[in-house]
Symmetry: C3
Subunit: 371 residues, 3 copies
């Protein structure tokens, strides 16, 4: 009775995608005061830029901008029905740039192009590489990113193929020259009082990207410099991660459908990786209180799944820094999320790899120390 839609009801599978194919994702989304309050309640974020109108205005913003990760999750959620409805796992992100502040009342929509396709040796799945762009109601691009995601084939192929089309090497870092601060942005006079933090851009001793890239991803004490071990832990429950993911209109089945997931190897629902990113960033407030905004996500990886009942912890390593102008500096941070092990305890020295859930390498804007 129902004629074939542009999108099958069961979603696209790997073999449906074509290099260069473009998607105008459905359901543009006006961001409201309600979304912003829910984001606070779901993450415990305390960044004053996103919850104090007077503070935002004292920095030069016309009004309180929306948290960068809330923008990311809403923009990302739009892509899920077309790109990752039948995903096995989100493998990574790169070259993610926040180009414009987003304000309450703005309406976001997202477009995606298939930029790479690679068959997996199993014949059952493949990896889809996409570039997604998010626009506001004035058609200004506010956010762009690359991600690659493992997607089921509808029908396995045997023998497996080894096709790899259009794959590009994602840059390890968004280039410093691509990081700009809004022209209006000036640190407030009372920064430390408002944020509770006394550390400014000058106070973070960053290693440099070359050395950092040589260090192994795991193992004891991999870094030359001491990471900031954020003090708190946050336990995730089923209802809060599903509320967050529904708010973002992200429809990936693995987060919502226990009837499906109870027969998976996890036997339960998976927490949306973006919720893990948001919780870890909220935990990273203590020690990084003067961060103003995210300019770029250089790379992101979900190492292990997170489930309801897990308690998340986070450490941050400053990796690189450079000045933007006389008032603002850029700081590249490597945020690592763990579950069920507190970085401030002795046990952390031998933290097993399966407790590492997230690596998020991102670049923030931070005020320079007031003269």
């Amino acid at each position: 009775m129902i004629e074939i839609s542009a999108r099958p009801l069961a979603g696209y599978f790997f073999e449906h995608y074509r290099l260069g194919q473009k998607f105008h994702h459905a359901t543009p989304r006006t961001i409201t005061q309600g979304d912003v309050a829910l984001y606070l309640a779901l993450t415990g974020s305390r960044l004053p830029l996103h919850c104090s109108e007077p503070f935002a205005q004292s920095l030069g913003y016309p009004s309180m901008p929306v948290d960068d990760l809330l923008v990311f999750h809403i923009a990302f959620g739009k892509t899920v029905p077309d790109i990752s409805y039948n995903a096995v796992a989100n493998l990574g992100y790169a070259d993610c740039r926040f180009l414009q502040p987003v304000f309450i009342g703005d309406t976001l929509r997202t477009e995606t192009e298939i930029i790479g396709l690679r068959d997996n040796s199993s014949g059952k799945t493949g990896v889809v590489h996409v570039r997604s762009n998010c626009y506001n109601q004035r058609d200004e691009m506010v956010l762009t990113w690359i991600r690659w995601v493992m997607v089921h084939r509808e029908d396995a192929v045997n023998p497996p193929r080894t096709t790899a089309l259009g794959l590009i090497d994602a840059p390890a870092q968004v280039a410093p020259e691509a990081i700009v601060a809004p022209a209006f942005l000036k640190p407030a006079k009372n920064m430390s009082t408002v944020t509770g933090g006394v550390r400014f851009w000058e106070d973070y001793a960053a290693t440099n990207a070359e050395e950092f890239s040589k260090t192994p991803e795991s193992g004891p004490a991999p870094w030359q410099f001491e990471p900031i071990k954020h003090p708190a832990g946050m336990t995730i429950d089923e209802a809060d991660h599903t509320l967050a993911t529904k708010l973002y209109q992200n429809t990936a089945r693995v987060h919502f459908d226990l009837h499906l997931m109870k027969d998976s190897r996890f036997a339960r629902r998976l927490v949306y990786g973006g919720h893990v990113m948001s919780i870890c960033r909220a935990l990273a407030y203590d020690g990084l209180e003067n961060v103003l905004s995210i300019a770029a996500i250089n790379s992101g990886t979900h190492h292990n799944p997170t489930f309801a009942g897990d308690t998340l912890f986070a450490i941050s390593l400053p990796v690189l820094k450079w000045p933007i102008n006389a008032d603002i500096g850029a700081l590249r941070l490597h945020l690592v999320g763990y579950k069920n092990i507190d970085p401030n305890t002795a046990a952390f020295a031998d933290a097993p790899e399966h407790l590492k859930v997230l690596s998020l390498d991102y670049t923030v804007l931070m005020p320079r120390r007031p003269k």
Copy 2:
């Protein structure tokens, strides 16, 4: 010390109601951006009319209207303290008509009249039939509906009575001539891009009401026409159904009070049936993307209770359709909700009756195919 209120603290019981009695329910409610965001987070709804201000305006609305079911739940919630505080079960709804769009900032209040009373043979309960009307701050009626609900007697009667007062036959369907579209309503030029759906009013092959009414309610393959089997499932948790029901200021004890319910035959809290309606309708987005609004609920029945941990699925059968004007058509849909069985799996052919949770027969407005 406390003098008798108009309403007893323990709520009304069946023997307190009188035919023709009228209630002005307490707590008028201004709908805010926060309610709208919470509704998205609680249901995962993706209808762009209710989350995109520019899309709403492109259809002719002055601003984004509030989701019809959110309006229904808030209007309904007001009636609970006076009508169904001591309810055993909500038996059904009929003749529910959405008369005006409701916007953020509008304030709703509800009035109810007792239109029928019937004793049950147990002597312990009775069925109360009511007509409820919901008004906005300009005293314009925005919504009206009939429902019947089984309510406990405070004191059982023995022998039982067989009184039946004022019962009316609820119409099986809101008459087509009562279904009107707002004068301003025009389909947007970019409907398919915004909604992600390519099916318009012309693309649904409806059976007709007479044939439909002859088919049995249960059993394998009851319908002549193929239903739309919506692809996704949504698991309900305790905190999300209780958050929804508190948001609607619905006070029915069965949803909130585990101390009470642990000694019931269910041994746990019941999910508010309206939350089940909202989840099933959100699941029904895929396959019905171009639905604009609900004009009427013809009938509604909760077949079995839903509990936290259950995963809901939905199918929709187009039942009847007729044109409203050159741009808009009416489509009557029969939405059936199931728990813990996926309509897209083979097991569904033998779905046992106790997994069917909802039948919601409703009429929507849908754009006709652009010429």
Copy 3:
């Protein structure tokens, strides 16, 4: 690498505090429509003053004021990182006065002074007494309160000290002369219709403070006058209490960190006492429908912890009353919260002490009976 902040990442411990020390707490907070909707969803509050714009205006308010307890929780949450991050337990509140209505769009910040310090005999903890003041964006004080909280020492002392500095006797009640009604406040003509309550200030037979203070806090039938036994119960789940507490940006670890708490004597997360206050007050709506606002919290005590899965019940005892003006009276209420025992059942007569979770003695404004 990180220089010492004004605040250690692990928070302050008892030995860090000095008498007279002042804190300007971080993260000013603009209250939005989203916060207000979330508060309804999290508590089930039905006070029409906080959810009906026309009703608020009919009382003389320029717009809908924010629920007093939502203001309290947000103001209180700001103090947690500096005062009670390493708290064992919140012991009590006193002299809490609501000085100005707070409206959507207002921005709150909080300051605190250490007004007393007392070592505990264990040598492992001490009690910190503070006065906190909350200001809006015009630097008008909107709320002030005293609390005392037991805080861990970072390093235990042996032998223990018996220092007690600057302790004051908190007043048992905010003095009647300190209770004022806003000059604009007039009861609405349709109060009973809007609130659903027919009882006005004249209808509550209060005992008096002297007699009340002589009655024991526990034991069967301690009071001379009958309390109002509110009819409903509300079960708390993990996700709703943590959502509430994150919304208030309260960072106390005991509410969020299951990894930490699983090794505590409770073996699970504790519900924020303020959430218990809000739930009990929402339950107290039935029987106190015409309460307009909270003018003062005279004292508050959390007798026992509350956990997810507990069902809360409440009773209220009117303690004292006096007229404010020809339209408005003051009513002092003693609200007692219980878990897992319904005051409307016979079992309540022998309610064991460990089921009592809250005593909140507060003073409200209530309209006098319309002539």
